[in-house]
Symmetry: C2
Subunit: 290 residues, 2 copies
């Protein structure tokens, strides 16, 4: 099985057209935002959102503004994570990081602006019942706040995750898992499913975040710089705890396999009639090499 | 006339109780957020929101969650503005700035988290018609995005405002004015007024943002460190263009008087029956010494 590239293409076309502001004197800011936003990527979060819409019987185009907003938010988090005061990374998605290219001040502001513009984009462009839309925004806010992405990054930079696999799992559940899970769940806010399906979708989405991170840690050890678009081995150089540092490579691979199976099982429970695009993404996250 | 301190007290009591997360390992992050959020301040934006509710005949408590969110967003912008890569300020509201106290990485994340938590707070706690609430969130997003607060800060740090008073006015309209205006306007989204009143409220709110900035620039020259809670003369040291550097102190004072009169006139048009708290805030912004 491949990746749902038809969905990714739709995302890429849409993202290239997203407008921030027309003001000439702000062009340098929007250029920095676009530079990071439009760097080649798998668009896992927006593609997940579109695939979730398909899985519950809707046209994916109905949630495209929400899907695009997820990528804006993800890009903001990458820009801020790469800053000198944070992970201090120079390379991302095969390009110089935002602060290397545009300066640290512009990078901070580009990240800040991407979050605000993600929100504005949803309010202006995403159709749907206002109460459902509010609930979807609530999901995004929670997934990106203290008990979400930013909290996870805090545990990461301060090296505060408790020792042992549970601590590591919690760190990644916050840092990566919450936004990946929200990519599925915010679509379900717009297209409510039955309660058991919603629970299983939630389990699927959470597990997918864990799977993503285990494979990420493995690739940091086994991948090549060229394939990753950033230097491999960067976790070890930063002294970061990873699934590999914690468990060794072989055990990390076993954990990835177990997580993949758990995600598949949850997906079958959530969409008994099948959800081929979500299955493709699940398999892709497990087997990807970059 | 004084300041509507009864409204400020309500805001302070409410802010002290805002919860971010209960997780022990995230306490360092929420401590940094609270440190900046709860530093003494005039709470101009939330008090404006409460006063606007009063002006259109509502109990201010009805918009308290929205008002609190405005202060969270304002605090996030202060934390990021103070960062070494931005204005590099060590003192704010009479205290060491967030990055001096907690480190640059935590300060960046505290700012990021405050925005997400502001949004989450509105979705979870602010009552009202969902469509109106969405419109209010849209106001906040627009006021804080590229064509708003972050764009204004970009023009400021990159020294990109066009020469002359119009350039300076545009910079401040984005950087400060948009969020101050939104403090009035997002309340009107929840309690719609007639069209002429809404237009006049919009004019009032924009002018208030301008007035705030002119007085801020004057105080940077005439104020004492103790009164300001930060070193006076910091604009000049940073080589910043201000109303004073552009026009001289005397002319800046005349501009403040004109702006104060314009704001008053717009307010009388917006609330012909009177809006004493909004008048108090307008006068306070004009006559404040810190």
């Amino acid at each position: 099985m491949g990746y749902p590239d038809h969905l990714r293409t739709q995302v890429d076309i849409y993202l290239a057209d997203v407008q921030f502001a027309h003001d000439g004197d702000l062009a340098g800011l929007t250029e920095a935002m676009r530079y990071s936003l439009l760097a080649p990527g798998k668009r896992i979060r927006p593609v997940l959102a579109l695939a979730t819409a398909l899985a519950v019987g809707h046209d994916p185009r109905e949630v495209m503004p929400l899907a695009a907003a997820l990528e804006l938010i993800h890009t903001y988090s990458l820009i801020h994570d790469d800053l000198p005061a944070m992970d201090d990374d120079d390379l991302r998605r095969g390009r110089a990081t935002c602060h290397v290219e545009f300066g640290e001040n512009v990078a901070i502001l580009a990240g800040d602006a991407l979050y605000a513009e993600a929100l504005r984009h949803i309010v202006v462009h995403q159709g749907g019942d206002p109460a459902d839309l509010l609930a979807a925004i609530g999901r995004l806010a929670a997934a990106t706040g203290v008990d979400g992405m930013v909290g996870g990054q805090y545990l990461d930079v301060k090296e505060l995750a408790p020792a042992g696999p549970d601590g590591l799992r919690r760190l990644h559940a916050l840092k990566t898992g919450r936004l990946i899970a929200a990519s599925v769940q915010c679509v379900l806010e717009l297209f409510p499913a039955g309660e058991p399906e919603t629970i299983m979708f939630g389990r699927f989405a959470s597990e997918l975040g864990v799977l993503f991170q285990i494979v990420d840690d493995i690739l940091d050890v086994t991948g090549t710089d060229a394939a990753l678009g950033k230097p491999s081995g960067s976790d070890a150089r930063h002294g970061k705890r990873t699934y590999v540092s914690e468990h060794g490579l072989e055990r990390a691979r076993e954990l990835a396999t177990a997580s993949h199976e758990a995600a598949q099982a949850a997906l079958h429970g959530a969409a008994p009639a099948g959800a081929p695009e979500l299955e493709q993404i699940t398999d892709f996250i497990y087997t990807r090499t970059s």
